[in-house]
């Protein structure tokens, strides 16, 4: 441990995390034999999803249990010393500290952006603690701290590899640090690197140096600058040339300590001819005050490689009166650098008080493919301003955007998107479908699409619909014996189906359940 400038404060905090992914996987497996007998494999899946939805029909935000963790928290406030302190706590090399300081100095020149269709309150950045590390009793990463294990078991994410039925590797990030990464050895045999970004900085400095900040520079925006200055942990993935990653990689992020922010960074590099599917899930405790989550995700896709990035975001959304909840202000961007490469974003957003994120793709290579599939559900007083940017720089590049917004209660739900085709990027193709479903008279649905096409040979299409759930549909369900609440769940899941089916199976079930559960009491 290096010398510490400011003494650590220790306090016990509550811990609660999302995600029942693994449990669902188990259910899927159990039915695998039946699956083979089906006339249609999809049916089975849908039915299991349905029964899970039904089971879950009585719950709200259910990750509210408390487990005692000793947590090291640095005092609130942000200045150069804090940035240095974080770097020092993480035992970082000089170049990274320099990176942080440059970002911090730049951030100080910036002001909080106000352009989103969200009612962003002024955030007091001095009232937040920028580093919180749960203390685990084992220093060896191979062994799992019992308290941590207990917590994750309760959340349905067993960290021990032998307990996992599906081949899915997990990086668990609690507050500011990665607490456990599974399956590392097995992945390492293939040359796949999957570890926390802190470890990557130590073990693979050249890769991190080469790619970090190359897609999202610290100058990009206010929150990107902030993240670059104070980021604490996150996941690092490197898939070497020609390797198809044999299992889903996933990260669980959770905010745990009070009055802290989470600033994680994810960096994914898919080298030539490689493939990886990456999943991300998140939750946070129920608290009356708002908490900040400002992440950066950077993805680099080289020639003929493919990356699939899926998110199920279930940060605490605040209570029914709009009190509390997470501000989810995230910069996610990928670049299809090599020709014929492909990047696909899928997101299901049901949590957070404010969501502000635009997973975007720069289609630099020729014949590249970018996809964005999104379901954003807002209710009560949630505000979501989300969408994507597809920047076509390569010839014959193609992009698809499917955005489904669902607004209930007093929420505001906006799609903001940009499709840009550079003059030299000939024969590009974009298709955008942007649908809004209103469940209440007091909610709002908005779309802000921008299209810039720099040549005549490219075709850009934009379709948009706004609808309400139709009473005839509800009555039809009622007549078949389905209650109105269940009917709304069914109809909304049907509406979102085009997006849900893009999720890996492990996530689809969870996402469907989440949609239905989140809707409870939202209609009427």
């Amino acid at each position: 441990m290096p010398p510490i400038l400011v003494p650590l404060t220790r306090k016990a905090v509550s811990l609660q995390i999302i995600s029942t992914v693994v449990r669902n996987v188990r259910i899927e497996r159990k039915f695998l034999t039946i699956l083979n007998m089906n006339e249609n494999n999809n049916i089975k899946k849908k039915q299991d999803e349905e029964s899970i939805i039904n089971q879950a029909a009585t719950e709200e935000y259910r990750y509210g249990f408390v487990s005692d963790f000793e947590t090291d928290v640095i005092p609130k406030g942000l200045n150069e010393d804090v940035v240095r302190r974080i770097s020092q706590l993480k035992n970082e090399p000089e170049w990274l500290l320099e990176f942080r300081l440059k970002a911090f100095r730049h951030w100080q020149t910036m002001t909080l952006p106000k352009w989103g269709k969200v009612n962003m309150p002024d955030i007091d950045f001095q009232a937040i603690s920028y580093y919180a590390a749960p203390q685990t009793k084992t220093s060896d990463k191979k062994e799992i701290d019992p308290e941590l294990k207990k917590t994750f078991d309760k959340l349905g994410i067993p960290l021990e590899e032998q307990k996992r039925l599906s081949g899915m590797a997990v990086d668990a990030v609690v507050d500011s640090v990665s607490v456990h990464t599974s399956y590392r050895e097995r992945l390492a045999e293939l040359g796949v690197i999957f570890c926390s970004i802190s470890e990557a900085v130590k073990d693979y400095p050249d890769l991190v140096k080469k790619y970090m900040g190359s897609v999202v520079p610290y100058t990009d925006n206010f929150f990107a600058a902030l993240n670059s200055a104070v980021f604490s942990d996150g996941s690092f993935v490197y898939i070497p040339k020609g390797v198809r990653c044999p299992m889903e990689l996933s990260s669980y992020f959770r905010i745990n300590a009070a009055q802290t922010g989470q600033f994680e960074r994810t960096l994914i590099v898919a080298d030539d001819d490689s493939y990886v599917s990456y999943l991300e899930g998140c939750t946070a405790p129920m608290r009356d005050e708002n908490q900040l989550h400002a992440a950066i995700v950077e993805i680099i896709v080289e020639e003929r490689a493919e990356v699939k990035y899926s998110t199920v975001q279930n940060w605490y959304p605040g209570d029914k009166d709009g009190k509390g909840g997470i501000y989810n202000l995230v910069t996610k961007r990928g670049i299809c650098r090599g020709d014929h490469s492909k990047l696909s974003w899928t997101q299901v957003e049901t949590g957070s008080a404010i969501t502000w994120k635009y997973p975007s793709t720069i289609l630099k290579g020729n014949n590249t493919v970018g996809e964005f599939y999104s379901v954003a559900l807002t209710r009560n007083y949630q505000m979501a301003d989300t969408g994507t940017k597809m920047i076509h720089l390569g010839k014959n590049s193609r992009s698809t955007i499917v955005s489904k917004g669902i607004s209930a209660g007093h929420s505001e739900n906006s799609y903001r998107g940009m499709v840009k085709v550079a003059p030299n990027a000939t024969n590009c193709r974009n298709y955008t479908q942007c649908d809004s479903l209103l469940l209440s008279d007091t909610s709002g649905a908005h779309t802000f699409p921008v299209i810039e096409v720099g040549n005549d040979s490219s075709i850009v299409e934009h379709e948009a619909t706004t609808s309400k759930i139709n009473e005839d549909q509800i009555f039809y369900c009622n007549q078949r014996g389905i209650s109105t609440e269940d009917a709304v769940g069914l109809i909304v899941n049907g509406y979102a189906r085009d997006v849900m089916r893009k999720l890996p199976m492990e996530f689809a079930v969870e996402a469907q359940r989440l949609l239905s559960v989140s809707l409870e009491g939202s209609v009427g």
């Binding site: 006339e39 049916i43 029964s51 005839d472 039809y476 009622n478 007549q479 078949r480 014996g481």
Partner: protein, 253 residues
Amino acid sequence: MLKIKDLHASIEGKEILKGVNLTVKPGEVHAIMGPNGSGKSTLSAVLTGNPAYTVTGGEVEFYGKNLLEFSPEDRAHEGIFLSFQYPVEIPGVLMSNFMRTAINEKRKYQGLEPMSATDFLKLMREKRAIVDLDNKLASRAVNEGFSGGEKKRNEIFQMAMLEPRLSILDETDSGLDIDALRTVANGVNRLKSNENATIVITHYQRLLDYIKPDQVHVLYKGRIVMTGGPELALELEEKGYDWIKEQVDNNQL
């Protein structure tokens, strides 16, 4: 099983049913005919609890229970099924998912465990054959992109799955060509038993060639003004409704 006594109902303040009386026993098929606007579809909507209609008077008893006190879904659970005149499309909701939800909700109501996936698929396979629907049905969204004929066959398929005690077929023949009509009618006939009953609402005698009614009722101006055997339908086909209208309007019926 069903006793309708002096039923009055209105929509948006306008009275449509003005004292309907009808008794249906297990094993029976009742046809309800009548000119446009006589209240045929209103009757089916009121029996199934469509919230757009208000019951302003009268009683409906179903197996001794006051049907009007039940929610639409509980009426379905009690065994009332409506084959819609215009089946509703629900985009993205797969038929398999929809039917499984419906069946398990009914089972829950009856205090039974949910049906296993295997049993459900078997049942679905068996029942869709009754109306010649192919194996793509399960993975198609509810009525989405269905042809007119497919929609009506899908209604009968759902009826077969849910095994209602009372089925109301609201203009199930409308928009069907003769082959589809036969398929639908054969399906209905195969589902008939001594325990269940059917109310067939139709404009035309044509459907009754295939589904033989025990009684034919003429609904006009919100009341059943004439009841007869199957021959009444033939007579209506031949003579139209004018003679009945005349008698009603002259207070002879």
